[in-house]
Protein backbone atom coordinates (compact mmCIF):
# COMPACT_ATOMS: atom_id res chain seq x y z
CA UNK A 1 0.00 0.00 0.00
CA UNK A 2 2.85 2.32 0.87
CA UNK A 3 4.42 1.57 -2.45
CA UNK A 4 1.21 2.51 -4.29
CA UNK A 5 0.95 5.74 -2.33
CA UNK A 6 4.53 6.67 -3.17
CA UNK A 7 3.86 5.82 -6.81
CA UNK A 8 0.72 8.00 -6.88
CA UNK A 9 2.51 10.92 -5.22
CA UNK A 10 5.37 10.64 -7.68
CA UNK A 11 2.98 10.57 -10.63
CA UNK A 12 1.14 13.60 -9.27
CA UNK A 13 4.43 15.38 -8.86
CA UNK A 14 5.53 14.55 -12.43
CA UNK A 15 2.13 15.70 -13.74
CA UNK A 16 2.26 18.90 -11.72
CA UNK A 17 5.73 19.67 -13.11
CA UNK A 18 4.83 18.71 -16.69
CA UNK A 19 3.86 21.15 -19.39
CA UNK A 20 0.44 19.54 -19.75
CA UNK A 21 -0.79 20.79 -16.37
CA UNK A 22 -0.04 24.40 -17.36
CA UNK A 23 -0.97 24.07 -21.02
CA UNK A 24 -3.52 26.69 -22.11
CA UNK A 25 -5.81 27.03 -25.09
CA UNK A 26 -3.60 29.93 -26.20
CA UNK A 27 -0.53 27.67 -26.24
CA UNK A 28 -2.45 25.17 -28.37
CA UNK A 29 -3.49 27.82 -30.87
CA UNK A 30 0.05 29.21 -31.10
CA UNK A 31 1.48 25.74 -31.71
CA UNK A 32 -1.03 25.38 -34.55
CA UNK A 33 0.09 28.78 -35.89
CA UNK A 34 3.69 27.53 -35.72
CA UNK A 35 2.76 24.38 -37.61
CA UNK A 36 0.94 26.46 -40.24
CA UNK A 37 4.05 28.62 -40.68
CA UNK A 38 6.16 25.47 -40.95
CA UNK A 39 3.82 24.25 -43.69
CA UNK A 40 4.23 27.57 -45.53
CA UNK A 41 8.01 27.37 -45.18
CA UNK A 42 8.49 23.72 -46.16
CA UNK A 43 5.66 23.03 -48.62
CA UNK A 44 5.02 26.48 -50.10
CA UNK A 45 8.70 27.53 -49.79
CA UNK A 46 7.89 31.01 -48.43
CA UNK A 47 11.37 32.23 -47.33
CA UNK A 48 12.03 28.74 -45.84
CA UNK A 49 15.46 29.59 -44.41
CA UNK A 50 13.88 32.22 -42.17
CA UNK A 51 10.27 31.19 -41.76
CA UNK A 52 11.28 27.60 -40.89
CA UNK A 53 13.26 28.46 -37.72
CA UNK A 54 10.78 31.25 -36.84
CA UNK A 55 7.93 28.73 -36.99
CA UNK A 56 9.79 26.15 -34.93
CA UNK A 57 10.74 28.81 -32.40
CA UNK A 58 7.03 29.68 -32.15
CA UNK A 59 6.22 26.05 -31.35
CA UNK A 60 9.01 25.87 -28.74
CA UNK A 61 7.94 29.15 -27.13
CA UNK A 62 4.53 27.74 -26.32
CA UNK A 63 5.64 24.80 -24.22
CA UNK A 64 4.90 25.86 -20.63
CA UNK A 65 7.46 25.65 -17.82
CA UNK A 66 10.51 25.34 -20.04
CA UNK A 67 12.21 28.24 -18.27
CA UNK A 68 13.77 29.27 -21.58
CA UNK A 69 14.01 32.94 -20.69
CA UNK A 70 14.47 32.66 -16.93
CA UNK A 71 17.22 30.05 -16.55
CA UNK A 72 20.72 30.35 -18.03
CA UNK A 73 21.19 28.26 -21.15
CA UNK A 74 21.18 28.32 -24.92
CA UNK A 75 17.69 29.79 -25.26
CA UNK A 76 18.51 32.62 -22.88
CA UNK A 77 21.72 33.29 -24.80
CA UNK A 78 19.73 33.45 -28.05
CA UNK A 79 17.22 35.76 -26.41
CA UNK A 80 20.10 37.94 -25.18
CA UNK A 81 21.37 38.22 -28.76
CA UNK A 82 17.94 39.37 -29.92
CA UNK A 83 17.14 41.69 -27.03
CA UNK A 84 20.52 43.41 -27.22
CA UNK A 85 20.54 43.91 -31.01
CA UNK A 86 23.50 41.61 -31.59
CA UNK A 87 22.15 39.42 -34.38
CA UNK A 88 20.72 41.95 -36.90
CA UNK A 89 24.09 43.72 -37.41
CA UNK A 90 25.80 40.33 -37.84
CA UNK A 91 23.27 39.41 -40.51
CA UNK A 92 24.04 42.75 -42.17
CA UNK A 93 27.74 41.78 -42.16
CA UNK A 94 26.81 38.76 -44.27
CA UNK A 95 24.46 40.76 -46.50
CA UNK A 96 27.26 43.29 -47.11
CA UNK A 97 29.62 40.49 -48.13
CA UNK A 98 26.98 39.19 -50.56
CA UNK A 99 25.99 42.56 -52.04
CA UNK A 100 27.35 43.98 -55.27
CA UNK A 101 27.02 47.76 -55.06
CA UNK A 102 28.35 48.05 -58.64
CA UNK A 103 25.00 48.93 -60.30
CA UNK A 104 24.43 51.62 -57.66
CA UNK A 105 27.93 53.06 -58.12
CA UNK A 106 27.48 53.07 -61.89
CA UNK A 107 24.19 54.98 -61.66
CA UNK A 108 23.97 56.75 -58.26
CA UNK A 109 20.77 58.55 -59.24
CA UNK A 110 18.91 55.30 -58.52
CA UNK A 111 19.50 56.00 -54.82
CA UNK A 112 16.51 58.32 -55.10
CA UNK A 113 14.30 55.38 -56.09
CA UNK A 114 15.43 53.58 -52.94
CA UNK A 115 14.44 56.68 -50.97
CA UNK A 116 11.05 57.10 -52.68
CA UNK A 117 10.03 53.51 -51.95
CA UNK A 118 10.38 54.20 -48.21
CA UNK A 119 7.06 56.07 -48.40
CA UNK A 120 5.46 52.68 -47.64
CA UNK A 121 7.08 52.74 -44.19
CA UNK A 122 5.50 56.05 -43.31
CA UNK A 123 2.09 55.34 -44.87
CA UNK A 124 1.90 52.27 -42.61
CA UNK A 125 3.06 54.39 -39.67
CA UNK A 126 0.22 56.84 -40.27
CA UNK A 127 -2.24 53.94 -40.65
CA UNK A 128 -1.03 52.33 -37.42
CA UNK A 129 -1.43 55.56 -35.47
CA UNK A 130 -4.95 55.99 -36.84
CA UNK A 131 -5.74 52.45 -35.63
CA UNK A 132 -4.68 53.36 -32.11
CA UNK A 133 -1.07 52.17 -31.86
CA UNK A 134 1.28 54.53 -30.03
CA UNK A 135 3.99 56.30 -31.97
CA UNK A 136 6.78 53.82 -31.14
CA UNK A 137 4.61 50.82 -32.04
CA UNK A 138 3.54 52.55 -35.26
CA UNK A 139 7.17 53.17 -36.24
CA UNK A 140 8.04 49.51 -35.64
CA UNK A 141 5.02 48.36 -37.68
CA UNK A 142 5.78 50.81 -40.50
CA UNK A 143 9.28 49.40 -41.03
CA UNK A 144 7.65 46.22 -42.42
CA UNK A 145 7.27 48.33 -45.59
CA UNK A 146 11.05 48.47 -45.87
CA UNK A 147 10.96 44.74 -46.73
CA UNK A 148 14.15 44.22 -44.82
CA UNK A 149 13.94 41.58 -42.07
CA UNK A 150 17.02 42.42 -39.96
CA UNK A 151 16.18 46.14 -39.93
CA UNK A 152 12.56 45.39 -38.98
CA UNK A 153 13.76 43.21 -36.08
CA UNK A 154 16.39 45.79 -35.06
CA UNK A 155 13.82 48.59 -34.87
CA UNK A 156 11.08 46.48 -33.25
CA UNK A 157 13.37 45.37 -30.43
CA UNK A 158 14.08 48.98 -29.57
CA UNK A 159 10.64 50.52 -30.09
CA UNK A 160 8.06 47.77 -29.50
CA UNK A 161 9.61 44.47 -28.35
CA UNK A 162 6.19 42.97 -27.54
CA UNK A 163 5.26 43.22 -31.26
CA UNK A 164 8.49 41.64 -32.53
CA UNK A 165 6.96 38.26 -33.41
CA UNK A 166 4.04 39.65 -35.41
CA UNK A 167 6.23 42.20 -37.20
CA UNK A 168 8.88 39.63 -38.15
CA UNK A 169 6.31 37.14 -39.42
CA UNK A 170 4.51 39.85 -41.44
CA UNK A 171 7.80 41.17 -42.89
CA UNK A 172 9.15 37.78 -43.97
CA UNK A 173 5.78 36.54 -45.24
CA UNK A 174 5.24 39.59 -47.43
CA UNK A 175 8.85 39.49 -48.64
CA UNK A 176 8.20 36.01 -49.99
CA UNK A 177 4.98 37.28 -51.59
CA UNK A 178 6.73 40.15 -53.45
CA UNK A 179 6.33 38.37 -56.85
CA UNK A 180 2.55 38.28 -56.26
CA UNK A 181 2.07 41.70 -54.62
CA UNK A 182 4.17 43.92 -56.88
CA UNK A 183 3.34 43.12 -60.56
CA UNK A 184 -0.33 44.24 -60.50
CA UNK A 185 0.65 47.58 -58.91
CA UNK A 186 3.51 48.07 -61.38
CA UNK A 187 1.23 47.40 -64.34
CA UNK A 188 -1.53 49.59 -62.96
CA UNK A 189 0.74 52.60 -62.54
CA UNK A 190 2.70 52.41 -65.81
CA UNK A 191 1.82 52.60 -69.50
CA UNK A 192 2.96 50.05 -72.08
CA UNK A 193 5.34 52.68 -73.53
CA UNK A 194 6.95 53.26 -70.13
CA UNK A 195 7.38 49.54 -69.49
CA UNK A 196 9.14 49.18 -72.85
CA UNK A 197 11.84 51.78 -72.12
CA UNK A 198 15.26 50.21 -72.77
CA UNK A 199 18.06 51.43 -70.51
CA UNK A 200 21.65 52.11 -71.53
CA UNK A 201 24.32 49.68 -70.41
CA UNK A 202 25.88 50.55 -67.06
CA UNK A 203 29.41 51.96 -67.10
CA UNK A 204 32.16 49.75 -65.71
CA UNK A 205 32.97 50.44 -62.04
CA UNK A 206 36.63 50.43 -60.99
CA UNK A 207 38.03 48.59 -57.99
CA UNK A 208 38.98 51.96 -56.46
CA UNK A 209 35.30 52.98 -56.39
CA UNK A 210 34.21 49.60 -55.02
CA UNK A 211 36.74 49.76 -52.17
CA UNK A 212 36.24 53.44 -51.33
CA UNK A 213 32.43 53.28 -51.26
CA UNK A 214 31.93 51.08 -48.16
CA UNK A 215 34.56 53.03 -46.21
CA UNK A 216 33.23 56.48 -47.07
CA UNK A 217 29.55 55.42 -46.79
CA UNK A 218 30.15 53.98 -43.31
CA UNK A 219 31.81 57.22 -42.19
CA UNK A 220 29.15 59.52 -43.68
CA UNK A 221 26.06 57.56 -42.55
CA UNK A 222 27.42 56.76 -39.08
CA UNK A 223 28.15 60.43 -38.49
CA UNK A 224 24.72 61.47 -39.79
CA UNK A 225 22.70 58.75 -38.01
CA UNK A 226 24.57 57.19 -35.05
CA UNK A 227 21.59 54.97 -34.01
CA UNK A 228 22.14 52.79 -37.08
CA UNK A 229 25.95 52.90 -37.04
CA UNK A 230 26.18 49.24 -36.01
CA UNK A 231 23.79 48.12 -38.80
CA UNK A 232 25.31 50.19 -41.60
CA UNK A 233 28.83 49.75 -40.22
CA UNK A 234 28.52 45.97 -40.41
CA UNK A 235 26.92 46.15 -43.88
CA UNK A 236 29.83 48.20 -45.18
CA UNK A 237 32.45 46.11 -43.36
CA UNK A 238 31.07 42.98 -45.01
CA UNK A 239 31.15 44.72 -48.38
CA UNK A 240 34.76 45.79 -47.79
CA UNK A 241 35.66 42.13 -47.11
CA UNK A 242 34.17 41.32 -50.51
CA UNK A 243 35.59 44.16 -52.58
CA UNK A 244 39.08 44.54 -51.11
CA UNK A 245 40.25 41.34 -52.78
CA UNK A 246 42.62 40.59 -49.89
CA UNK A 247 40.09 39.39 -47.30
CA UNK A 248 38.50 36.54 -49.20
CA UNK A 249 38.47 34.19 -46.21
CA UNK A 250 36.64 36.73 -44.08
CA UNK A 251 34.24 37.44 -46.93
CA UNK A 252 33.55 33.75 -47.35
CA UNK A 253 32.91 33.30 -43.62
CA UNK A 254 30.69 36.38 -43.40
CA UNK A 255 28.49 35.41 -46.34
CA UNK A 256 28.27 31.68 -45.63
CA UNK A 257 28.98 30.08 -42.26
CA UNK A 258 28.58 33.13 -40.03
CA UNK A 259 25.46 34.35 -41.83
CA UNK A 260 23.90 30.88 -41.65
CA UNK A 261 24.68 30.45 -37.95
CA UNK A 262 23.34 33.89 -37.05
CA UNK A 263 20.25 33.31 -39.21
CA UNK A 264 19.47 30.19 -37.17
CA UNK A 265 19.80 32.13 -33.89
CA UNK A 266 17.98 35.24 -35.10
CA UNK A 267 15.07 33.41 -36.70
CA UNK A 268 14.62 30.87 -33.89
CA UNK A 269 14.88 33.60 -31.26
CA UNK A 270 12.36 35.75 -33.14
CA UNK A 271 9.95 32.81 -33.27
CA UNK A 272 10.42 32.33 -29.54
CA UNK A 273 9.01 35.78 -28.89
CA UNK A 274 5.68 34.55 -30.30
CA UNK A 275 4.05 33.50 -27.06
CA UNK A 276 0.28 33.33 -26.80
CA UNK A 277 -0.08 36.36 -24.51
CA UNK A 278 1.64 38.72 -26.96
CA UNK A 279 0.54 37.18 -30.25
CA UNK A 280 -3.10 36.21 -29.77
CA UNK A 281 -4.42 39.76 -29.73
CA UNK A 282 -6.44 41.70 -32.33
CA UNK A 283 -3.42 43.94 -32.96
CA UNK A 284 -1.66 41.04 -34.70
CA UNK A 285 -4.26 41.02 -37.46
CA UNK A 286 -3.95 44.81 -37.76
CA UNK A 287 -0.15 44.48 -38.08
CA UNK A 288 -0.51 41.90 -40.85
CA UNK A 289 -2.99 44.17 -42.67
CA UNK A 290 -0.77 47.23 -42.22
CA UNK A 291 2.22 45.27 -43.52
CA UNK A 292 0.39 44.67 -46.79
CA UNK A 293 -0.52 48.37 -47.02
CA UNK A 294 3.14 49.24 -46.43
CA UNK A 295 4.34 46.93 -49.23
CA UNK A 296 1.74 48.27 -51.68
CA UNK A 297 2.51 51.91 -50.84
CA UNK A 298 6.28 51.34 -51.06
CA UNK A 299 5.98 49.69 -54.48
CA UNK A 300 3.69 52.47 -55.71
CA UNK A 301 6.04 55.16 -54.35
CA UNK A 302 9.03 53.65 -56.15
CA UNK A 303 7.19 53.23 -59.46
CA UNK A 304 5.68 56.75 -59.36
CA UNK A 305 9.08 58.29 -58.64
CA UNK A 306 10.46 56.12 -61.45
CA UNK A 307 7.91 57.73 -63.78
CA UNK A 308 9.15 61.17 -62.77
CA UNK A 309 12.77 60.12 -63.36
CA UNK A 310 11.76 58.60 -66.69
CA UNK A 311 10.42 61.98 -67.87
CA UNK A 312 13.27 64.03 -66.39
CA UNK A 313 15.94 61.77 -67.92
CA UNK A 314 14.31 61.92 -71.38
CA UNK A 315 12.91 58.36 -71.29
CA UNK A 316 16.23 56.81 -70.32
CA UNK A 317 15.02 55.24 -67.05
CA UNK A 318 12.39 52.50 -67.02
CA UNK A 319 9.91 53.23 -64.18
CA UNK A 320 9.62 49.49 -63.45
CA UNK A 321 12.99 49.54 -61.66
CA UNK A 322 11.44 51.89 -59.07
CA UNK A 323 9.53 49.04 -57.43
CA UNK A 324 12.87 47.39 -56.56
CA UNK A 325 13.47 50.25 -54.13
CA UNK A 326 11.59 48.31 -51.44
CA UNK A 327 14.72 46.23 -50.60
CA UNK A 328 13.72 42.51 -50.63
CA UNK A 329 17.06 41.81 -52.35
CA UNK A 330 17.16 40.36 -54.98
CA UNK A 331 13.51 39.28 -55.27
CA UNK A 332 12.17 42.79 -56.04
CA UNK A 333 14.82 43.32 -58.76
CA UNK A 334 13.82 40.01 -60.33
CA UNK A 335 10.19 41.15 -60.38
CA UNK A 336 11.22 44.31 -62.30
CA UNK A 337 13.08 42.09 -64.77
CA UNK A 338 10.13 39.73 -65.26
CA UNK A 339 7.55 42.52 -65.73
CA UNK A 340 9.92 44.36 -68.09
CA UNK A 341 10.54 41.23 -70.17
CA UNK A 342 6.81 40.60 -70.46
CA UNK A 343 6.29 44.11 -71.80
CA UNK A 344 9.20 43.87 -74.22
CA UNK A 345 11.08 40.59 -74.75
CA UNK A 346 14.82 41.14 -74.66
CA UNK A 347 14.62 44.17 -72.36
CA UNK A 348 16.94 43.16 -69.52
CA UNK A 349 16.31 45.32 -66.45
CA UNK A 350 17.83 43.09 -63.75
CA UNK A 351 21.17 44.88 -63.34
CA UNK A 352 19.49 48.30 -63.60
CA UNK A 353 17.01 47.27 -60.89
CA UNK A 354 19.79 46.09 -58.57
CA UNK A 355 20.79 49.76 -58.08
CA UNK A 356 17.51 50.84 -56.42
CA UNK A 357 17.27 47.42 -54.77
CA UNK A 358 20.48 47.82 -52.74
CA UNK A 359 19.68 51.52 -52.30
CA UNK A 360 16.46 50.33 -50.65
CA UNK A 361 18.47 48.39 -48.05
CA UNK A 362 20.36 51.57 -47.15
CA UNK A 363 17.14 53.63 -47.35
CA UNK A 364 15.29 51.34 -44.94
CA UNK A 365 18.18 51.48 -42.47
CA UNK A 366 18.22 55.27 -42.76
CA UNK A 367 14.45 55.41 -42.17
CA UNK A 368 14.92 53.21 -39.10
CA UNK A 369 17.71 55.47 -37.84
CA UNK A 370 15.62 58.59 -38.32
CA UNK A 371 12.70 57.04 -36.44
CA UNK A 372 14.99 55.93 -33.62
CA UNK A 373 16.37 59.46 -33.36
CA UNK A 374 12.91 61.05 -33.44
CA UNK A 375 10.58 58.64 -31.74
CA UNK A 376 12.45 56.44 -29.27
Amino acid sequence: MELLNAFAVSLQSVWADSGFSAFTMGNGIMILVGLLLLYMAIVKEFEPLLLGPIAFGCVLANFPRTGFFTEPGLMQAIHYGIANEIFPPLIFLGIGAMTDFGPLLARPVTLLLGAAAQIGVFVALVGAMLLGFNVQEAGAIGIIGGADGPTAIYLSIQMAPHLLGAIAVAAYSYMSLVPLIQPPIMKLLTTQKEREVAMEQLRPVTKFERVCFPIVAAIVISLLLPPIASLLGCLMLGNLFRESGVMDRLSDTAQNSLCNIVTIFLATGTGMTMNADDFLVPQTLMIIGLGLVAFIAGTAGGVLFGKIMCRVSGWKINPLIGSAGVSAVPMAARVSQVVGMKAKPGNYLLMHAMGPNVAGVIGTAVAAGTMLAMLK
Binding site: Q118, E209, M374
Partner: protein, 122 residues
Amino acid sequence: MSHPVTTNPLIIMLINMTVVFLVLTVLGLVINLIHIIDPTKPKQEKQEEAAPAPAEAAAAPVESAPAAGTAAAEEGISPEIVAVIAAAIASYGYGMEQVRAIRPLPRDAWKNSGRAQMANRG
Protein backbone atom coordinates in the same frame (compact mmCIF):
# COMPACT_ATOMS: atom_id res chain seq x y z
CA MET B 1 12.42 55.61 -23.09
CA SER B 2 12.61 59.37 -23.78
CA HIS B 3 9.68 61.33 -25.17
CA PRO B 4 9.25 61.41 -28.96
CA VAL B 5 9.89 64.72 -30.72
CA THR B 6 6.33 64.78 -32.11
CA THR B 7 3.34 62.46 -32.30
CA ASN B 8 1.72 63.98 -35.37
CA PRO B 9 1.94 61.18 -37.98
CA LEU B 10 1.96 63.52 -40.97
CA ILE B 11 4.81 65.60 -39.56
CA ILE B 12 6.73 62.41 -38.75
CA MET B 13 6.21 61.23 -42.34
CA LEU B 14 7.29 64.56 -43.83
CA ILE B 15 10.41 64.90 -41.68
CA ASN B 16 11.47 61.28 -42.11
CA MET B 17 11.02 61.21 -45.88
CA THR B 18 12.99 64.46 -46.16
CA VAL B 19 15.82 63.01 -44.06
CA VAL B 20 15.86 59.76 -46.08
CA PHE B 21 16.05 61.72 -49.36
CA LEU B 22 18.75 64.03 -47.97
CA VAL B 23 20.95 61.22 -46.64
CA LEU B 24 20.69 59.22 -49.86
CA THR B 25 21.36 62.36 -51.92
CA VAL B 26 24.50 62.99 -49.86
CA LEU B 27 25.49 59.38 -50.49
CA GLY B 28 24.92 59.92 -54.21
CA LEU B 29 27.21 62.97 -54.13
CA VAL B 30 29.83 60.93 -52.29
CA ILE B 31 29.66 58.26 -55.00
CA ASN B 32 30.10 60.92 -57.70
CA LEU B 33 33.02 62.41 -55.78
CA ILE B 34 34.72 59.01 -55.55
CA HIS B 35 34.26 58.61 -59.32
CA ILE B 36 35.74 62.05 -60.02
CA ILE B 37 38.85 61.56 -57.89
CA ASP B 38 39.34 57.95 -59.01
CA PRO B 39 42.98 57.80 -60.22
CA THR B 40 42.46 54.38 -61.81
CA LYS B 41 39.60 55.17 -64.19
CA PRO B 42 40.23 54.48 -67.91
CA LYS B 43 42.31 57.11 -69.72
CA GLN B 44 39.75 57.87 -72.40
CA GLU B 45 37.14 58.77 -69.79
CA LYS B 46 39.61 61.12 -68.10
CA GLN B 47 40.28 62.88 -71.42
CA GLU B 48 36.56 63.30 -72.02
CA GLU B 49 36.15 64.95 -68.64
CA ALA B 50 39.22 67.17 -69.12
CA ALA B 51 38.20 68.42 -72.59
CA PRO B 52 34.41 68.31 -73.03
CA ALA B 53 34.38 68.44 -76.83
CA PRO B 54 33.28 64.93 -77.73
CA ALA B 55 31.85 65.89 -81.12
CA GLU B 56 35.16 67.24 -82.39
CA ALA B 57 37.15 64.43 -80.82
CA ALA B 58 34.90 61.80 -82.39
CA ALA B 59 34.90 63.50 -85.77
CA ALA B 60 38.67 63.48 -86.13
CA PRO B 61 39.25 59.73 -86.46
CA VAL B 62 36.26 59.42 -88.82
CA GLU B 63 37.80 61.88 -91.22
CA SER B 64 41.20 60.26 -91.14
CA ALA B 65 39.86 56.74 -91.14
CA PRO B 66 39.05 56.17 -94.82
CA ALA B 67 42.62 56.86 -95.85
CA ALA B 68 43.98 54.13 -93.59
CA GLY B 69 40.95 51.92 -93.86
CA THR B 70 40.32 51.77 -97.60
CA ALA B 71 43.43 49.65 -97.97
CA ALA B 72 42.00 47.07 -95.56
CA ALA B 73 38.51 47.17 -97.14
CA GLU B 74 37.55 44.83 -99.94
CA GLU B 75 36.39 46.15 -103.29
CA GLY B 76 32.70 46.98 -103.38
CA ILE B 77 32.64 48.52 -99.88
CA SER B 78 32.03 52.24 -100.15
CA PRO B 79 34.20 54.78 -98.29
CA GLU B 80 31.08 55.87 -96.38
CA ILE B 81 30.69 52.36 -94.91
CA VAL B 82 34.37 52.30 -93.99
CA ALA B 83 33.99 55.70 -92.31
CA VAL B 84 31.02 54.48 -90.22
CA ILE B 85 32.91 51.34 -89.14
CA ALA B 86 35.95 53.49 -88.28
CA ALA B 87 33.79 55.79 -86.15
CA ALA B 88 32.28 52.84 -84.29
CA ILE B 89 35.74 51.40 -83.60
CA ALA B 90 37.06 54.82 -82.56
CA SER B 91 34.26 55.12 -79.98
CA TYR B 92 35.80 52.11 -78.23
CA GLY B 93 39.23 53.78 -78.20
CA TYR B 94 40.89 51.95 -81.11
CA GLY B 95 42.36 53.29 -84.36
CA MET B 96 41.83 52.09 -87.97
CA GLU B 97 45.49 51.04 -88.16
CA GLN B 98 44.50 48.05 -85.98
CA VAL B 99 41.91 46.85 -88.53
CA ARG B 100 43.24 44.15 -90.85
CA ALA B 101 40.28 43.68 -93.16
CA ILE B 102 36.69 44.75 -93.77
CA ARG B 103 34.65 42.21 -95.75
CA PRO B 104 30.96 41.34 -95.90
CA LEU B 105 29.88 38.06 -94.33
CA PRO B 106 27.80 35.70 -96.46
CA ARG B 107 24.14 36.35 -95.60
CA ASP B 108 21.84 33.56 -94.58
CA ALA B 109 18.25 34.53 -93.84
CA TRP B 110 17.54 31.30 -91.90
CA LYS B 111 20.55 31.77 -89.62
CA ASN B 112 19.67 35.42 -88.98
CA SER B 113 16.08 34.50 -88.17
CA GLY B 114 17.28 31.82 -85.71
CA ARG B 115 19.65 34.28 -84.03
CA ALA B 116 16.88 36.87 -83.70
CA GLN B 117 14.62 34.27 -82.08
CA MET B 118 17.35 33.22 -79.63
CA ALA B 119 18.06 36.84 -78.71
CA ASN B 120 14.41 37.60 -78.04
CA ARG B 121 13.64 34.44 -76.12
CA GLY B 122 12.32 35.35 -72.62
